[in-house]
Each structure stands twice: as C-alpha cells, then as structure tokens.
C-alpha cells in the first residue's frame, strides 16, 4: 500500500513540476487566442442589415511599428465601412505559429491570416482559393511570379503581402584598403577574402549564417548560384545534386579556411548585421533592411552588389515572401464581401505603399512598386533584384523538413561529415 501511495505521490509531484518547468519555454509564454472569435452569424444565416459583420485577422509582427500601423488601418477601414468590424491581432513571429495552431485546433481559425507559410493549412483543407475572396481589381495588381509561389493543384491559395530580397553587402573602405574589387565569382570571393585577411586579421572577410534561424538561406545562396537548388523544373526534389554538393563544400571550405566569422552555427544574420555595421565583417549577404540599419548604426561606407556565382553560371537572388490567406469559415455572402473589402482596402495603393515602406520591405504589387520607388529612390534597385529572385518551394508540403534538413547538412559537414552522404540521406528521407 505504501508503495502505491509513494508512486501516486511521485506521479503528482512530477506532473506538478513538469508543468512548472514547461512554463520556462517560450511556447508557454505565447499569448493564447488573445482576440475573441468573430461573433459572426451562422454560415447559412444572412447577416441582418443593422448588424455589423466581424472580420478577424491575425497579422505577423514585422517590427515595432506593425501593431500601431494595424490600429490605424482598423480605424480608417471601420470609418469607411460602417457595417464591418475589423479585429486584427498582431502576434510576434515567435508565437504566431502556436497561436494560429491553437485557434485552429479550437475551431476558432481567423478569417484572414498574414504569415509566411500556407501549404500546411491548404493540405488540411482549411483555406479558400484566392479567387473566392480577392476582387479581380486587386488580383490584377500582383506580379504573376509572386502568385506562382502559392499555387497547389493549379489553384492560388494565398496572395503576397510583401517581399524581401538578398544581395551582397560590402564595406567599400575595407575592400579599398585591402586593394581588391567587389567579387563576382566564387573564385574571386575567395581571393578577396584572403586579401582582406592579410590586410587585417581582426576583420572577418565573409559573414555566414548557418543557424537554425536561417541556415536554409545560406544553402540557397550557394546552391542557386551554382546551378543547383531545392527542386528541378518539374518540382521534384533534387537535394543531392552534384551542384548542391559542390555548393555545400565551397561554403564550408570558406569557414574552415578561417575566412568567415568564427561561429556560423550560432551567429545569426542579426549578429552579422551588427558586425557588418561596426566594420568587423567586411562582406555579407543580407536583405535590403541592412541599409537602414547601417545608416542608423555607424554609417559605414557600404555598397551593394549581386551574389557571387560559380564561374559564369547564372546568378540568382534569394527572395522571401509573406502571404495573406483566408480560412474557410463557412461565410455568408455578406461575410465574404466583408473579407474582400478588407483585402481591397489593404492593397489600395496608398495604405499598401505605407505598409511596405514602414518596415523597409519590397512591394508585391505593380502599383505599390511605383509608389515605393517614388517615395524611396534607393528602393528602385531592389525592386529589380526581387524581380529576378528565386523563392523557396514553400508550396510543397515537405518544405519544413527540407528547410531544417539542409541546415542540418551544413552543420554536419562543418563538423566533418561528408556532404554527398548527408545530402543523399536527406534526399532519401524527403523523396523516398
């Protein structure tokens, strides 16, 4: 009997402490379903004319100004649309996946969601096709190449809200002092790095981020500029192609030769950005926001160039795109019209340009492009870059596994494993 009591007590103690211990994890800190579910009428009941239709939305927090921007948008939208109550929850990137999944699991999916991924929600049949909730006028504004990134089974399931592209940032003063030009090929890159190292051993010639945060971008920079990549033209996974193996070996070789920051597996892009702005890193690949960061923190003499390629192979920038999607919550005509009104208002030229410029992103619509280029002449070059950028195959259901898989490959090879073997294993895991 005593043993039984002891076991029960142990069970209770472990349960209690496990629960307390778990409070330390960020996941537990995630705000839970902060906003009330839209008290929309039942799907088959038309909204009464004097009743407001509520549209709920979860939006990703891109920076310090995001929440305020959405508050302003809600106010303006509701003033112009008396019959619609717009409720936007702005959630940090750390918590947004947990919050969205919790809401879905509880049957409280938002009407609109602004996030980066969509394939998992589409695979579960939770989304509506874009043509159901985006007006023709708004739909015509998007670049076709952007819409293509959200196609599954020939249907567009989400529309882009913004984009960013990557380019080579270099410290012009350091390159000049080292007596070298901006590298355009991998061979030149290595030579330039060696020259910078010889000029000042305290400077890291090349910034590399292989962390869990964004190691997949590192893989893409070198694979795409060596004729490789994640998928072939038919969309089949080609993770263990010879070009990818060569790309992994090249970047790991730069790290092992001491031409990069010392710890690429723990130093994120943000760490590199700080080191670049302070002159500790001479060159790095990064998004357009780095320009603003450098101007605000030190004002180094920097320049921007295309990513180096292997020999004369075709180059490509890495594009990153976030999306807006609509959950299938069984809408009445009035509710669907309200959702469309919100989307139309968001992509209206003036607020949309304001939204994109707010956090220094790139627009995903043609009219937004023109307005942004007028407001910020420095953005014009970036708009060209994003036009030729390649995107991650985020529409494929295996993408989350591939993303972590290539990061793991980079880290394993850095620890001494063979790139070909690691990529073969990953290809077998993903494609079977």
């Amino acid at each position: 009997m005593k043993k039984l009591i002891a076991l029960l007590l142990a069970l209770v103690m472990v349960i209690g402490l496990v629960a307390c211990g778990n409070n330390e994890a960020p996941a537990a800190d995630a705000p839970e379903a902060e906003a009330p579910k839209a008290d929309a009428p039942a799907a088959d009941a038309p909204a009464a004319s004097d009743e407001k239709v509520t549209v709920t939305m979860i939006a990703a927090q891109y920076g310090n100004e995001t929440a305020d921007w959405w508050v302003g948008f809600e106010e303006k939208f509701e003033a112009a649309n008396n019959g619609i109550d717009l409720v936007v929850d702005v959630v940090s990137w750390n918590d947004i996946y947990t919050v969205v999944n919790t809401r879905i699991a509880n049957g409280e999916a938002p009407d609109l969601l602004n996030i980066d991924v969509f394939a998992d929600y589409q695979a579960d049949g939770l989304l509506l096709p874009a043509e159901d909730w985006v007006s023709e006028e708004t739909y015509a504004k998007f670049f076709p190449s952007f819409l293509e990134q959200s196609i599954v089974d020939d249907v567009v399931w989400a529309v882009p809200d913004l984009a960013s592209a990557r380019a080579l940032y270099y410290n012009a003063d350091i390159l000049e002092a080292a007596g070298v030009e901006v590298p355009t090929t991998w061979e030149e890159l290595k030579t330039v790095c060696e020259a910078i190292k010889a000029y000042d051993a305290e400077i890291y010639p090349w910034g590399v981020d292989m962390t869990t945060d964004e190691g997949q971008a590192c893989f893409a920079y070198y694979a795409w500029n060596n004729g490789g990549g994640f998928v072939d033209e038919e969309g089949n996974w080609t993770l263990n192609s010879a070009e990818n193996v060569e790309a992994v070996n090249y970047i790991v070789g730069l790290v092992k030769d001491g031409l990069t920051n010392t710890d690429p597996t723990t130093e994120t892009r943000y760490d590199l950005q700080e080191m670049f702005a302070s002159g500790k890193v001479a060159m790095m690949i990064g998004p357009n926001q780095i320009s603003k960061y450098c101007e605000a923190n030190g004002g180094i003499n920097y320049g921007i160039a295309s990513l180096p390629t292997n020999g004369d192979k075709a180059g490509a920038s890495v594009g990153v795109m976030d999306r807006i999607m609509c959950f299938d919550n069984g809408y009445t005509d009035a509710e669907m019209a309200a959702v469309t009104a919100v989307v139309d208002a968001f992509y209206d030229d003036e607020p949309y340009a304001e939204w994109v410029l707010m956090e220094d992103f790139l627009p995903a619509t043609s009219s937004g492009n023109e307005l942004c280029a007028q407001a910020n002449p420095g953005m014009a070059a970036w708009i060209d870059v994003i036009g030729s950028a390649k995107f991650y195959p985020a529409a494929k259901a295996e993408w989350a596994d591939v993303k972590l898989g290539v990061i793991d490959v980079l880290q394993q090879v850095l620890l001494g494993e063979d790139a070909q073997t690691m990529l073969d294993d990953l290809q077998a895991d993903i494609a079977g």
């Binding site: 496990v18 211990g21 330390e24 994890a25 710890d263 597996t265 989350a400």
Partner: protein, 297 residues
C-alpha cells in the same frame, strides 16, 4: 461530546474538502493539459495542429528510430547529471561557508540569491555575451589584465559550448541548493558538535558523521527537485545555441520544441514529451519509495 453519525462523516470529509480546491485547480491547469499531451502522442496530428485520428505508437516509433534521439537523450542525461551533481556539491560547500559567523554574512547571502532571482533567459544571454569571441567580457578582462594578447575562442567545438551551458546551469542552480542546505544546517543542534569536539573528533569527522547525515534529507529533496527542473530546463540551451550545431547541444526539451514549432511534427514532439515524463516519473518514484520506506523503518 457529539458523536452522531453525520458529525463523524463531516469530520472524515473535512480534510478532503480542504484539499478539494487544489485538486480542482491541478486538474484544470495541469492534469488535463498533460492528458492532451498523451492524447497527441498517440494521435496523428497535422502540421496545422489538427488531430486526425489514433496513430498507436507510430509517433514513438518515429522518434526512437531517429538518429538524433539517441544523441539528444545522451546530452540530456549528461546535462542533468553534471548540473545537479556539481551544483549540489558546490551549493553544499557554499552553505557550509555561509553557515559560519562572519562580518557581512547577510550581504553574502543576499548576493548568492541574485542568480536565482534573475530570469534564466537574462542569465543565459549574459553568459553568451561573456564568452563571445569578439565582444565578450571574458576576453576583454583577460586582455586588460595582460593574461592574453589576442581574443581566445572559448567555444571552438560543440562540446565546449555544451560545457559553458552546463556551467551556466550550475551557476543558476547553486543558490537553490545552498539555501536548502543552509536551512538544514541551521536546524542542527550545536550540542552535537560540542560533544564531538570533547570526544576529539576533527572537522572532517564532524562533517561526515554529524553534518552530512543530518542535512541529507534537505539535500535529497533539493536533488530530486533539481533533477526535474534541470531535466526540463529550456532557456539556457535555447538562448545560447538553440541546440546547434546539428543537435550536438540539444536536450529533450529543446529538441521537442524544434520538432513541434519548426518541423510541425506535434505528434512526435508530444511523444518526446511523454518519454521525458516517464523518465522523470521513474526517478521521482525511486526517491518517493525509498523515502517512505525509511519513514516506515
């Protein structure tokens, strides 16, 4: 004396009524959520978080087949044993020092509490800053003192990173052990030491034959609680390395976090959580059984 049947029933039920609110609270906030974790561990869960049906032991089989799991489990055991054992030894030694009468003892005790009173994420961030090769306080200090001439890479390997994480874990755990041991030390009657001194016992004889046996119950409680807390600790490893590179510094908790929120494999993450729960249950059971057995003796 009122010995009527209803009165006796009320008296018998009274203790249960008193603990009823706690049981209700525990059920709502602890037992039911843990029940959900068990349910997920045996369910097919989509990446969007929808439970699609019963999956049997499929999630457990996938986890156990994964090449990473063995490495992560080994890391977790090393992490737990190193942090718990070393923080217990060091915390006990510190408690012995703080139990002596000396000037400024109160201030010293207050200082010892600091690491415990600070959020773990802040602690881990500070440690990460200290060992940073470029801007770290350790390199700056050593260079200022003239001990080194150029920056030293304190984390050249994953093992070195893990070592620093363990050091951080020990640092933040010592105060808890220290104060638990200190409370035990203060309850020891000084007459035991006086008698031992009269009998000619030396410092170490007194330590091993009087102090340790009498402080043992306090240290045992601290150790069991620490095993559970340290085993489940997330912020230190996550803040310093996120388990990178290639899971070489992952523990079960950071591993399951990545499975759930980076890979979207919530069923497998729940299975890892259940495995951790069972390991802790065995540890706690051993302790509870042995404690109650001793009480019986």
């Amino acid at each position: 004396m009122n010995t009527s049947k209803p009165y006796t029933l009320v008296r018998k039920a009274e203790p249960y009524l008193w603990i009823l609110p706690s049981i209700i609270l525990m059920s709502i906030f602890i037992i039911i959520p843990i029940g959900f974790v068990f349910r997920m561990a045996f369910s097919e869960v989509t990446k969007a978080g929808l439970v699609k049906g019963f999956a049997g032991i499929e999630n457990f089989a996938k986890v156990l087949k994964s090449a990473k799991f063995g490495l992560v489990l080994k890391n977790t055991i090393v992490w737990t044993i190193m942090v718990v054992v070393l923080s217990t030894v060091l915390g006990f030694i510190l408690a012995l020092l703080l139990n002596n009468e000396f000037k400024g003892r109160k201030i010293a005790r207050a200082i010892v509490v600091f690491p415990w009173a600070t959020t773990l994420v802040i602690q881990a961030s500070v440690w990460k800053f200290i060992i940073d090769i470029d801007y770290g306080a350790l390199n700056t200090l050593l260079k200022t003192l003239g001990i080194i001439s150029s920056n030293v890479n304190w984390t050249p390997t994953p093992e070195a990173y893990f070592g620093w994480e363990i050091a951080c874990g020990i640092f933040v755990t010592i105060p808890f052990v220290c104060f638990t041991a200190l409370s035990g030390l203060q309850s020891i009657d000084s007459s035991y030491y006086e008698a031992a001194t009269v009998d000619g016992a030396g410092y170490f004889q007194q330590l091993f034959n009087i102090t340790l046996p009498l402080v043992k119950p306090s240290l045992t409680v601290a150790t069991v609680l620490n095993i559970i807390y340290v085993f489940n600790s997330f912020p230190i490893v996550w803040t310093i390395t996120k388990g990178d590179p290639a899971s070489r510094t992952d523990t079960l908790v950071t591993y399951l976090y990545k499975l759930a929120f980076y890979n979207g494999k919530q069923g497998e993450a729940a299975a890892v959580s259940v495995i951790g729960f069972l390991i802790l249950l065995v540890c706690a059971s051993v302790y509870m059984v042995s404690t109650l057995k001793k009480g019986e003796d």
